[in-house]
């Protein structure tokens, strides 16, 4: 008979595998992003802006699943780096519109090779990567739906 631990086991947990994988990939990006003067969450914000050009803090929060408590100081740092501008919308003074500066837009070209480099290091071929991404999205949606249905 194999031993039966009287509790959950670390390496059995999908949650730990996710946590470890996410941190490993972020760590792989770090030296590449250092060259651009960015952190990983800052890079994600710029990814969203390179795609959409102008987004409110609210929009960014929806895209990245982050709240204003995280985004506000992060955006201030990006503004200090002169990569983005922040301005109140005139038609709704509650909203702050975040837009790329010329400098922020130019950084896009330097970021183009990054996903390829990181993809190579993952050791998965195209179809496996595609399937993994799909599974992760489904998992995230399922978990978030479950959370939204919880009391409170």
């Amino acid at each position: 008979m194999a031993e039966q631990p009287a509790g959950p086991v670390l390496d059995d947990q999908v949650c730990f595998a996710l946590y470890a994988a996410s941190r490993a990939v972020t760590a792989l990006y770090r030296p590449l992003l250092d060259d651009l003067g960015l952190t990983y969450p800052q890079y994600l914000v710029l990814l969203a802006l390179w795609e959409h050009d102008a987004l409110t803090v609210k929009d960014l929060g929806r895209a990245l699943q982050l709240d204003s408590g995280t985004l506000s100081p992060l955006l201030k740092r990006l503004e200090k780096l002169e990569l983005v501008r922040r301005e109140r919308r005139s038609d709704d003074e509650r909203s702050v519109l975040v837009t790329l500066t010329a400098k922020g837009d130019e950084l896009r070209a330097k970021a183009v090779p990054l996903p390829g480099l990181v993809g190579d290091a993952m050791g998965l071929d195209g179809p496996d990567l595609y399937e993994l991404r799909t599974t992760l999205r489904e998992l995230t949606d399922s978990v978030n739906a479950y959370r939204a249905a919880l009391p409170q």
Copy 2:
């Protein structure tokens, strides 16, 4: 012709899918762990200790892939909660052995239902979860091997 964004796209990134999934699962654990008075990384440390009973800070770092800069203050908090003890090893005074207190050991029983609850919310069946875990481990190993091979 579809538009071709002149740069990487947020939702295409496996790295973002990982980041979002990891945070969603952690967020799902949070209210459950609140009842035990634990954070998610603290829970991971206890998982390792429930399995092995006594580990050095170094061992914990290897198991969780965290360095002493993260673990030292975390373990101090667990000690203040009276869930673990920390003591220098007599045969090597550099090492600190972390062991469970009775209180820390008792918490194990309360943690038993957690993985099942979280597994349900993931919306994947057993085989899919198993495959995902395997893929994530391979990805983590591949990425870490790649990082270890980098200059410096």
